[in-house]
Amino acid sequence: MSNLLDVENLRVKFPTRSGVFEAVRGISFSLNQERLGIVGESGSGKTLTGRAILRLIKRPGVVEADRIDLDGKDILRIPEEEMQAVRGKRISMIMQDPQYSLNPVMTVGSQIAEAYRVHSKASKPEARDRTLDMLETVRIREPEKVYHLYPHEVSGGMGQRIMIAMMLIPEPDLLIADEPTSALDVTVQLQVLALIDDMVRERGMGLILISHDLNLVASFCDRVLVMYGGRIMETLDAKDLHNAQHPYTRGLLDCLPRLDGSHGELQVLKRDPAWLEA
């Protein structure tokens, strides 16, 4: 039985005026039907990792890996036409701000229906019915009404639910969520995550949650990868987070202000250049 996703020695490079810049430098991990969190600060390469798996990085960026396998089958070297059948149908992605990832000139309902028809041979009325079902599944009340709204007419939380509906309607095996809740209020964030949790569990999907919020990821996911400078610093089970060994992970945990802490000076993360060489 192969893993749902295998990534080995993934590298993402960009040519710049001063030489080649490696944003992701040889990371490897595997995933089954579990929730994996990838945590890192800006510039750590976490977003590029997600996009590299879906081969969404355009030239002049270059993606290299020993392998990227979905269910044991290669998806790194297959031609673009075959990859299009993978995107959406087998691996889906939710991004940060629904205002930017939804088409502003199409109604919300028609976008979801379109996503459905791209990956199935459904007719328009069938797709519409499925869309309404899906809107209910993501706990949007009055789906009939919301179907005809435009993206700018819905709130952030609802927009993300719509994104989730759109991305899960083709029933993919793996969902990559890139900072899906960073633009939302904290209570709405948790409600959206609860929804993602339910859907992932019900459908037996794998989930990669990319975020900068270590505590959130640790409380939600099963396993956590901590990235820095394009490399994985540490992999741990979420419940073991507070026993993290790597100084970077410890540094990140220690520098957060805590509700049960004091007004004292916050510990500042000391970046060890050796981490970049590791």
Binding site: L193, A194, L214, R258, L259
Partner: protein, 258 residues
């Protein structure tokens, strides 16, 4: 130091007007650090902008250092109260170097010794002289925010308004900036009013905290009370629970507060 009474702020006119802040009243003593917490749409940033004079459609009374403020601000006000904005990139002019950004307020108010003041301002926020002639796009997020703080402090204000100063920064950088803000306040005896949606950050930096929801002040408490989870209002309690991380059972109990 600051006294706000019955502040009402509206956006838009006539039929399209939205009341962003309703009957807000609070005081901030000199040297105190006051926090304003709320989710988006709560009106917290609007209160700050009204105090700063950046928004003119308000009614009620705003007094800073005994001076009652009208819609237009007097010159002296600029040296009394300054603001640090949320987006470190958006609050700096992309075509002005660090030096130009710091020189400008000095030129406007005709301060003497601009050279020394600029060097001191950079030193105070931990930016070395090698940053002096860089452009904002050559600075990291944390460095830009330091510059924004230096710019706010170069006119020697007594009150600094902070609009989510660390929300756009990485967690490790946030710690540095928060430490910097605490140190500067101690060194210069500043009064802070800080707006944030992050309870932990506010509890760390502030002594008294007010919670807003949909334009209305829900309750006020000290940071001790917040930490020991003894807020009385359901909305604040819910916010506290949400700040602690993902807890499925708690989430299922979330309610909408209007």
């Amino acid at each position: 130091m600051i006294r706000v009474e019955n502040l009402n702020v509206t956006f838009g006119d006539g039929e399209n007007s939205v009341q962003a802040v309703r009957n807000a009243s609070f005081t901030v003593a000199e040297g105190e650090s006051f926090g304003l917490v709320g989710e988006s749409g709560s009106g917290k940033s609007t209160v700050l902008k009204a105090i700063a004079g950046l928004h003119s459609h308000w009614t009620g009374s705003i007094e800073v250092d005994g001076m009652a403020l009208k819609q237009k601000r007097p010159r002296a006000f600029r040296k009394l109260l300054q603001m640090v904005f949320q987006d470190p990139f958006g609050s700096l002019h992309p075509r002005h170097t660090v030096d130009a950004t710091l020189k400008e307020p000095l030129a406007i108010h005709r301060f003497d010794n601009p050279e020394q003041r600029i060097l001191k301002a950079l030193d105070d926020v931990g930016l070395g002289p090698e940053f002096r002639f860089r452009y904002p796009h050559q600075l990291s997020g944390g460095q830009r925010q330091r510059l924004a703080i230096a710019r706010a402090l170069i006119l020697e204000p007594r009150v600094v308004l902070l609009d989510e100063p660390t929300s756009a920064l990485d967690v490790s950088v946030q710690a540095e900036i928060l430490n910097l803000l605490v140190r500067l306040r101690k060194e210069q005896g500043l009064t802070y009013v800080m707006v944030s949606h992050n309870l932990a950050v506010v509890a760390h930096l502030c002594e008294r905290i007010a919670v807003m929801n949909r334009g209305v002040f829900i309750e006020e408490m000290t940071d001790e009370q917040l930490r020991s989870s003894t807020p009385s209002h359901g909305y604040t309690r819910q916010l506290l629970v949400a700040s602690k991380g993902y807890d499925r059972k708690a989430i299922d109990r979330f309610v909408e507060f209007t």
